[in-house]
Symmetry: C2
Subunit: 240 residues, 2 copies
């Protein structure tokens, strides 16, 4: 059975303008791989309603799980929750459980729970909250879409609470063979071995070291015996 699929939607003008380098995608990719969920596609879009809604529409029908990051803070450019409600055709309003969480948090710190902060308690109808142990304002899940904050520490905490609720797949095993030859030298035999093992993914990544070309050959698959068999074939061919 093929592994479950996922897609990620990163929302934020600051990533597209080059002001900020996204860190969440790489983190999520590693976490999903660990539990055997196949991250198939990532899109990075701006803080505009059309862009967010159309990416959500494309993703939620195509992939098992959709994770978004960004756009759920208190400022005018935080429009992700409204876009998710629009994509699902449901209402959105301040919700009592989310409001109460935030109220208690701000009261304890003697910070005013003003209208901007109340926006963070606006949750689409039918969603369940995702806990935020870092700064309280929750994310939420609605059907297969999980909406998380863009701030990396908060994003990571939210991933940690959602991941155990997802159905994982067979863990993907990965082994790497470092070959001191350029990709052009190894490409022929590599293609033959890749055809012999259609369930195993064989990738080749060039590097340069002290002016010499080499390749890291990465073998990935769910069947440990097959991964081992490919590694043995590669060693025989390239280390002879």
């Amino acid at each position: 059975m093929p592994n479950p699929t996922a897609a990620m939607l990163v929302i934020g003008d600051e990533i597209l303008s080059g002001r900020t380098r996204d860190a969440n995608m790489h983190y999520l990719a590693q976490e999903l791989t660990k539990v055997g969920i196949n991250l198939c596609e990532v899109r990075i879009v701006s803080d505009t309603r059309d862009a967010i809604v159309s990416a959500l529409d494309a993703f939620r029908s195509s992939y098992g799980t959709v994770i978004t990051s960004g756009g759920i803070g208190p400022t005018h450019d935080d429009i992700t929750a409204d876009c998710v409600a629009a994509a699902f055709g449901v209402g959105i309003d301040v919700r009592e459980d989310a409001r109460a969480l935030l109220q208690a948090y701000y009261d304890s710190r003697e910070i005013e729970f003003n209208d901007a902060r109340k926006r963070m308690a606006r949750i689409p109808d039918g969603a369940t909250l995702i806990e935020n142990p870092v700064s309280i304002a929750p994310g939420f899940s609605i059907e297969n879409v999980h909406v998380m904050a863009g701030v990396p520490s908060v994003f990571q905490a939210m991933v940690a609470s959602v991941l155990p609720t997802l159905t994982g797949g067979a863990p993907v095993l990965s082994q790497t063979l470092r070959v001191e030859r350029g990709e052009g030298d190894i490409a022929g035999p590599l293609a033959i071995i890749a055809e012999e093992f259609p369930d195993i993914s064989i990738g080749s990544y060039p590097f340069q070291h002290n002016g010499a070309f080499g390749s890291n050959v990465v073998v990935r698959g769910s069947d440990g015996a097959q991964v081992d068999a490919v590694m043995k074939r590669l060693s025989d061919v390239f280390r002879a």
Copy 2:
């Protein structure tokens, strides 16, 4: 007149599996911003034909410029050139000028110019070559799509040779005000100022420093006088 638009397609299983952290997107975002081209969307897809072709189809009709990275090496998983030819409905074959470049390079290093390396001379009909001063194997441009290597040093060299051929826009000016208050405190006034200046983008990015919350307010736009006016308003409101 709005600035020209661009989109980027990153191709590679190694990014989606979390093995490699992409560096090209952030680099390109910064370079495009410098010349006033608006990077509107990025997609990261796997090394599979359907995923690459459908992203190309979506992008090339929606954005002024499309830049791809990855999948143009000599190995079996390098299928970008074939996908581009398929998306444009043109043929693809070894082309004499590309072949001659590679032949001379490998001859000078006494490296065999084998079939795998010849694959890197396969160029879609009607494309023009993009120079690769690092490792010679060229990228190519066809209509508004520019196909570049994934290795960062090569990608950057290819961006440097293509960028001067693109029509830029008004440079986007950016100023940042650091405010020692949480986003929830500044969101209300920020929204009012954002409405007053519809041509200026005002973003807010939270940070934590020594346990206190603060916000970097980033003001971006092509009209320097308006950017200055917004910065003055922000200072008056938040530094009073």
